[in-house]
Amino acid sequence: MASVDKEFITRGLRRSSTGRFLLWILPWVALLVFGLYSAGLCLVKGLNQTNMDNRFAFGLWIFLDLTVIALGAGAFFTGFLLYILKIDELRSVINSAVVIGLVCYSGAVTVLAVDVGQPLRSWFTFWYPNVHSMLTEVTFCISCYLTVLLIEYLPIVLRNRKLHDVPSFLVFEHELHKLIYVLAGVGTFLSFFHQGSLGGLYGVLRGRPFAFREGLAVWPSTFFLFILSAAAVGPSFILLTTWLVEKLSRKRLVRPTVFRRLARISGLLLAVYVLAKAVDTLVWINRTSPGTGFQAWQYYSWKPFGTWILFAEIVVFGLLPALVMLTPRLRAHTGWLVTAAAMACCGVALNRFVMTVQTLALPTLSFDPYLSYYPSWQEVGTFLAVVAYGVLVYSFSFRYFNLFPEERELRLEAAAQEEEELALAGRY
């Protein structure tokens, strides 16, 4: 335990030695540097460094941004369940959820800044907002929610052992944490709207009958489907990451009941989502799409995106994981739980992929070709930078902040059990 940074690590938590930690960090730093170089190329030389074009105006970045933001929904939804609905069990994952949310949102916003042609004009959206645009709603809500996440992250940082010694930090952390309910409420409100408007982004596209949906008032059905799917997959992603961190750090971080609770919430919402998505698809096939002069079957006759993609999205990666997570017998096995959670995450990613990439690949004019697009290495690199950044922020947070408040208690419990076993072994 020769860690030079031991005094910064939460008391009673075991973390790897400084050397091992640096070794773990190193490849991610390398990836981050490579990614920053890619992003720098895009910023300095322009978006000609990407493989996007006038027809494929959105590419890998928008697809992954949508996915990452859906997965990051765990932060707002866990906060909502814990602070507003008072499901106290989730206290043990809330800090981790906040860090994951922060990583997802800040990463997505960074990629968006590279994705626009004139990043320095980003403030125009705030200054001259077109309130009818879904993108305006997204921009406002995401930047506000990122602020909320930063404020929610602050108490986690300030609880660091060294920082907590400073009286003003200690007191501020204490006072801010008392008001966390306000932040959870505001975060829920904002998330509700931007998850929705990210879906609305595509649903309103009258000119893209593949994506166009009817809906309620100004909101197309995708608005509600995106909220539902993000809320469903958020807890799954928390489950998945927590499990992954447990495996990587070889520690028990939360009680199995928390896993099961997360899975039950996720499964329930996913089931509702699958049902709503199925209804929406039927309405779209039989009403919305023919109404715009586009027969729905033709979307699926352009290979490779056949009807299998619809089946995979709704049944394989939607219904199936929902059923697994709702079956108590299967839920009892961590293996099933984790597989189902991973499948649910894949399902949402597939949905975002279909909305972004398939929408743009399909022709709208009868003399349009069917288009394909492969991201350039600069695009992939830029995204890898976000992944590396996320892993780094999470690793540092895991090392220096107390992300899983029950970790120490669980270790003491394990020790008690060990003692009992020893005592039993000694007696007989």
């Binding site: 008391r11 001259y128 904002l190």
Partner: protein, 277 residues
């Protein structure tokens, strides 16, 4: 964005959208500002120590937050709602009225070979307070606390004239890798500092000197069950923190426990025993 900027319209869409945006901004600013203002007030009113104690208490496992009346067997289970400050606890007030503690005849309690004189009051963070004839209160480490820290490598004592708060830090000690804040059992002003050799660390002029001053501290018949429980906790902490040989049941702890378990994460063990999160 603002009424005089191009593109702004006084229509419902604009008003609702921007209204919601400004309300969110106002809520965020108000939250941070009120937290800042309240923390400034708390710092001015010298509440930092109390907040630190509450924070430490909250980060303790639920099984360690147990009420003193569970130690004596009066309750099956009860979690302390007052962060071990029985001065505000109505339940405690009622209980000591109805069931006064049984008298202990011996002048000191011997638990696992450790001496706990009964002429003083004990804090659950392993300090004691003894009211002197001159009205001052001596503060020291109890036997278990002393054995945990052994001879501290470093000691930071407050200066005479400094104030200490009950449940706040009395002084800081370092042993091996363990940095420990030792809690003060009473409120008051430090008049003199002692040392390990003198058997006490602080002489404090208490803020008040009535029946309530020591109400939150353990005494008499409570000591034995409390220390028995503390020994269980110590054994658990030692096992958890990687001390190779566990304390034998009923064995007598050595006089310098820190030296006896070189492999243990002493910082974590001390954090556990001195109730520091």
């Amino acid at each position: 964005m603002l009424p005089w900027i191009y593109g702004f319209n006084w229509n419902a869409g604009h008003i609702i959208f921007l209204g919601a945006f400004y309300m969110v901004l106002a809520a965020l600013v108000a939250t941070v500002a009120s937290a800042a203002i309240r923390s400034r007030r708390a710092l001015r009113m010298d509440q930092a120590e109390a907040i630190r104690w509450h924070s430490d208490f909250e980060s303790m496992p639920a099984c360690d937050q147990v009420c003193r009346h569970v130690l004596t067997g009066e309750f099956q289970s009860r979690q302390c709602p007052h962060a071990f400050d029985c001065r505000e606890c109505e339940t405690h007030a009622k209980l000591i009225q109805c069931h006064p503690l049984p008298r202990v005849e011996e002048p000191e309690e011997d638990v696992f070979g450790m001496a706990f004189p009964l002429d003083r009051f004990y804090h659950r963070g392993h300090t004691w307070a003894r009211l002197e004839k001159d009205g001052t209160v001596l503060v020291g480490l109890d036997e278990l606390g002393a054995r945990l820290l052994g001879r501290p490598d470093a000691l930071v004592l407050p200066k005479p004239g400094d104030r200490v708060h009950a449940n706040g830090a009395a002084f800081h000690a370092r042993r091996r890798d363990a940095e420990v804040r030792v809690v003060s059992p009473v409120d008051g002003e430090v008049v003199e500092t002692g040392s390990a050799e003198r058997g006490w660390y602080l002489r404090v002029k208490p803020t008040s000197n009535d029946a309530k001053t020591f109400r939150h501290l353990l005494r008499g018949a409570e000591i034995k069950p409390w220390i028995q429980r503390e020994m269980e906790r110590l054994q658990l902490a030692l096992t958890a923190e990687g001390a190779a040989p566990a304390l034998a049941d009923g064995g007598v702890p050595v006089s310098d426990i820190a030296a006896a378990y070189p492999a243990a994460d002493w910082d974590a063990v001390c954090g556990e025993m001195f109730l520091e999160g």
